[in-house]
Amino acid sequence: MLLPLFAALVAASTAVLIFAGGLVTSTGSGLSVPDWPSTYGWFMWAFPVSKMVGGIFYEHAHRLIASTVGFLIVVLAIWLGRAEPRRWVRRLGYLALAAVVTQGILGGITVLWYLPDAISIAHASLAQIVFCLTVTIALATSTGWKSGYIADPQGPRRIDDSVEAGLRSAKREGRHARLNTAPNDRTLQRVAIVTTAVIFVQILIGATMRHTGAGLAIPDFPLAFGDLIPPHWDSKIAIHFAHRVGAATVAVFIIATAGHVFAHHARRAELRRPAILLLVLLALQITLGALTVLSGKQFIINSLHVVNGALVLVTSLVLTLRAHRARFADTGSADAGSAQRDPVRGAGSRTRDDQGRSWTRRGARA
């Protein structure tokens, strides 16, 4: 019961960490503490609060938050290793731990090597992956995921067209069929995957723009030097313009994904909610991006743009994973034996969990 809450706390703390990291770059404080892992010779946690002045405040606070999140992920990985029956979830915990350790080392290297663009961009990008991992763990350990998004298996079910057809087909064939998990929608699965991938690429472009100092290479918005297309080009203008084109591309994919959810799965709250949230976050993100340019990269607006971009990514990831929920095997005390792929499974069907065990269970439910 506590594990899902803790996993959610870790995911939320990762978002806070990304915001703190955004503040470091936005305020140009990345090198205000020249040593690492110490801080001006102090052990990190012994550095006096009174000396957290100027850029040190942002850089040192980022280090403190990062080490806290790292500790939380260590606890999460151990907890999953001891309590989580699903091997793939345990492995996600170990992967998150490896990623956050690598992330810490990248953060140290980028300070010691005076913020080389490649390392700083890798640091920013790996932060998104760590966030994705912690959110995926929080999702996979949630009760909704474990139940296959059927709130009350014995009560009225949210059945959409594809499930209804499956149930009818099973009835015709004389099989005793029951709904045990959310249905597959291959179209939604594909468009959601592509949307998440496009958002991630867009964030990589954004990180490149930030760390190469191209954030104001095009000083106006929504036009570029008064035109739709920049009248002159250099590498910074190109990367900045690519980020704007990327934003438009992301918007198209998010609208397509959300539109598909509203059209075909409007009654499935586990898809409808992230779809609505995606649209809200998209509107907010474009607004923050515009304000970042128009305010001359005001550091709080700029950092909110960074963390909101990460929230767009993980919201799309959650939608993608939920769209694929039926493809995941369930094991563990609550949901052992539910079907892997077929949302409508005849009673007594043979199934296999993710640890390779297979058995026949009559009337098993998710």
Binding site: T27, G28, S29, G30, L31, S32, V33, P34, D35, W36, S38, Y40, G41, W42, F43, W45, A46, P48, K51, V53, G54, G55, I56, F57, V111, L112, Y114
Partner: protein, 259 residues
């Protein structure tokens, strides 16, 4: 587990951190303070030495010096409450301060011995003093923290090696030497984002920085034809060619406009 280190162990630990973090061009080391950043005195041909003097002016309406927000560090706010940006300092008569004027070309294969006397760059009142300075390759630069707050000394070199060293304690000093010429080499304090200094690293002693009256003087030049460049951090550069005979003094004027 958590404890505050005493000052001695702090300095020792900080020295280790310096060794880890500063891979600067030339060397960085702790040294006792000595002298001040004096103007160059060496000349290759002392007999019949010539001079180039002049003034750098600004035409047009000079920009107003922007006030700097110091609230991120209470020490700075108290120590230097009226601090303004030093990017363009123009006197009422149009004279520009902090222009680095130097011989860019014309010295041929002459070589010059670097002075042993260090040039001092001080961090005082949360600003670099001086804001613009020159130094010879191999000449020691002594960097001092006179403030009761933390500074990091970040030399953002391109031709030399970049370095970044912390000076968390008032009175700390470090000495750095540069291994190759570089005009200009920016210094920055990342703790206090407004703190910038510019260092012209040359392999000869013929350079000067304009004072409040905008004048400069390059003394002790051998007779010859030289390209003189005037550099300003926001106004850019201008060059002029002058020919001077033995014992002559030539006057050169540079006039910058708002960019």
């Amino acid at each position: 587990m958590i404890r505050r280190l005493d000052v001695r162990s702090l300095v020792a630990a900080f020295g280790a951190a310096v060794a880890l973090t500063s891979c600067g061009g030339g060397t960085t080391q702790t040294s006792a303070p000595a002298g001040s950043g004096a103007a160059p005195t060496a000349a290759a041909d002392s007999a019949g030495a010539s001079n180039v003097t002049g003034k750098v002016t600004f035409t047009g309406t000079p920009p107003k010096a922007a006030p700097i927000k110091l609230s991120s560090d209470p020490f700075c706010q108290n120590a230097n409450p009226g601090l303004t940006a030093e990017t363009e300092i123009v006197a009422p008569g149009g004279a520009i301060q902090n222009v680095f004027v130097y011989v860019k070309d014309g010295l041929g294969n002459r070589t010059f011995t670097a002075p042993a006397e260090p040039v001092v760059l001080d961090q005082k009142g949360c600003q670099y003093t001086p804001h613009v300075l020159g130094i010879q390759v191999g000449q020691p630069m002594q960097i001092v923290n006179s403030d009761d707050t933390l500074h990091n000394v970040h030399g953002m070199a391109k031709a030399n090696k970049e370095f970044n060293t912390g000076q968390p304690i008032q009175g700390m000093k470090m000495t750095h030497t540069f291994s190759t010429k570089e005009v200009m080499l920016p210094f920055k304090c990342d703790v206090h984002g407004w703190m910038h200094a510019w260092v012209g690293v040359l392999d000869h002693p013929y350079y000067a920085v304009t004072g409040p009256d905008g004048t400069f003087s390059l003394k002790g030049l051998p007779a010859g034809t030289y390209t003189i460049e005037a550099w300003h951090e926001t106004l850019g550069t201008q060059t002029q060619t002058v020919t001077i005979g033995a014992g002559e003094t030539r006057d050169v004027a540079f006039a910058f406009k708002a960019s």
